[in-house]
């Protein structure tokens, strides 16, 4: 069953004199209970897409439906059944954790008690601070509160706009575990993130760039599409190494990834000759073959 359907959605914004295309011809479907990731850098159009799907904004062209309801015609129905967590913390900072929750619960004509089983896992972590004002919470706690508020009415589709931006590594990991748990409740989750490493935690991801979806696939499918052998290379002077490699005609691409540079060759070279081939171009201390990550695929797609 399809929970979210987006059909050739287009959105433009008028900037001074020029027109900025935020979304061009976006198409995708998300099935019920899926954890779907929108991966892309800032400005890719993720938030605009979310705002259209949560009925806060009208698309210029195309149609979209959430839970079988049209985002324009049946927006009232959609508002009853989606949970939206905007990228910026948008709860009342001067109300306490408890007050925020009961406020949003009441707006949806429900209560914390009614849906306690759903938010329990998350709410328990912030419960010790329930008398604290939301503004005084730490970043990770704020995210959890926002997620609780978005879940309080047992939505069938949950939209999370960059929920882990600005959150520490541990909280991020916890957050994704929570999302995995939520899937058990048959909630469709659409999450956007600029972090490529989080893509592998989704069931399927859409790689977005400049208002376009470059590829939609499972994380595994995406990395399998990376056909060229990928090599991780290290040297004494990493910056100089990168510049030399990028200048070389033998090398197709070279991007810095942490302690290594990820390198592909223009023409296929037998694995055994790679080290010697590289040594001809620049001094390298370590060379190893690695499987491609989502980020490698993203970089590759961006080049095309």
């Amino acid at each position: 069953m399809i929970a979210v359907k987006v059909d050739s959605v287009k959105k433009t914004f008028k900037a001074e004199k020029s027109v900025v295309t935020a979304l061009q011809q976006i198409n995708f479907d998300v099935s019920k209970g899926e954890l779907f990731g929108l991966i892309g850098p800032d400005g890719a159009g993720k938030t605009t897409l979310f705002r259209i799907l949560t009925t806060l904004m009208l698309a210029d062209e195309g149609t979209a439906s959430v839970d079988g309801f049209d985002v324009v015609r049946d927006y009232k129905e959609i508002r009853k059944r989606v949970g939206y967590m905007p990228g910026r913390f948008s709860l009342y900072q001067d109300l306490t954790v408890e007050e925020n929750l009961s406020f949003f619960a009441t707006l949806f004509n429900t209560s914390l008690e009614e849906n306690y089983d759903l938010v329990k896992a998350i709410y328990q972590q912030i419960e010790p601070f329930k008398k604290r004002r939301a503004g005084a919470l730490s970043g990770g706690m704020k995210q959890k509160l926002a997620l609780s508020c978005a879940l309080i009415h047992r939505p069938s589709v949950l939209f999370l706009d960059e929920p882990t931006t600005g959150v520490d590594a541990v909280s991020r990991k916890e957050f994704w575990e929570l999302l995995r748990d939520l899937q058990k409740h048959q909630i469709t989750i659409i999450v956007s993130t600029p972090y490529m490493d989080e893509a592998s935690l989704c069931d399927r991801v859409a790689l977005m760039q400049n208002g376009k979806i470059m590829e939609i696939n499972s994380p595994k499918g995406i990395t399998e599409n990376f056909k060229k052998p990928l090599w991780a290379v290290r040297g004494e002077n990493m910056y100089q190494l990168m510049q030399t490699l990028q200048a070389s005609e033998v090398i197709d691409s070279c991007y810095p990834f942490g302690q290594y540079h990820h390198v592909t060759f223009t023409d296929a070279i037998p694995d055994s000759q790679v080290a010697s081939e590289l040594a001809k171009i620049a001094p390298v201390t370590e060379v190893k073959k690695i499987p491609a990550t989502i980020e490698d695929c993203f970089m590759e797609l961006m080049r095309q």
Binding site: T54, L56, Y75, K76, R79, Y92, D94, S102, L107
Partner: protein, 372 residues
Amino acid sequence: MRILRILLEKEFRQIFRDPAILRIIFMMPMIQLLVLPMAADYEIKNVNVAVVDLDHSTYSIQLVNKVKASGYFNLVDYNESFEKSLEYVEHDQADIVLQIPASFEKDLVREDKATLFMALNAINGVKANLGGAYLRSIINDFNREVRLDWVQLPRVNPQPTFQISSINWFNPLMNYKIFMVPGILVVLVTMVGSFLTALNIVKEKEVGTIEQINVTPIHKYQFILGKLIPFWVLGLTTLSIGLTLEWIFYGIVPVGNLSTIYIFAAVYLLGVLGLGLLISTYAQTQQQAMLISFFLIMIFILLGGLYTSIESMPVWAQVFTKFNPVSYFIEVIRMVVLKGSTLYDIRFHLLAAAAFAVVLNSWAIVNYKKRS
């Protein structure tokens, strides 16, 4: 109902948790009502006069003494040079130069008439005008005394003259405070009602909380009522505080019925809140809302009849005041406080206030969108 209740609960919680808002609501009326009326004084006192006496006669000295004794004037200098006196004006130390010519007494006695010269510093038009008028009336008075001294008036006055005596209705002592303080209170109530509402909603826009509300299934009217009711209550609270302060510090007790003021205020506030709502639908940031409010309050005050009477404005400005809700309330509160007008007397004002409420709120509701 449950939704409206939680919206109100939330709004009041936020208001009472924000010390700045509380301070504005309670301190603003205190300061404005207690300090401003002291300064916003129509009466002109301490007009500085420099006298150029070229005569030095008994009469000229009598005249100068009379001016001094009136209590309105300070004698800055008494000299023989107009240039020197004008210098005082140039340095803003004198407002009026009164020149008594050399032959003042001689002319008065011989030719039955004498001339005096008055130069007014017109930079402050009001002061010059009123000061000049005071001085003229003192001189006239002096003139009459002189004539009485000289001539034995016949029993029947050969020329018919009018004697005018006046009585000030509604404000016998012409106490400007009774007149000003209620007017200032109106401006205050207006500010609390409209601008706090506008800022409050725009703040939700800025912080992003309005988005979170917009994705919920609540209705537009619930959201708007949830915003209007708290500030309606706050507006009436400010009015009550203001009326109490007026009574305690100025002894102003409305001649008319207090309920007349409250009934009008209740309707009037709806319009004012609608204005706040309207501003908030146009402004994207609190800064914008602030500037629009500032612009409007200037117009409201200057074209509201608070300081200058509407009747003496040019016709176009008078037309303009018809579209200024503040002018209606200022008139009403003065009518009730000073004259004791009843609901029947202010029925047209009430109608106008209701019209403002309907128009401004409808406009705001049409313009308020839950989506962009």
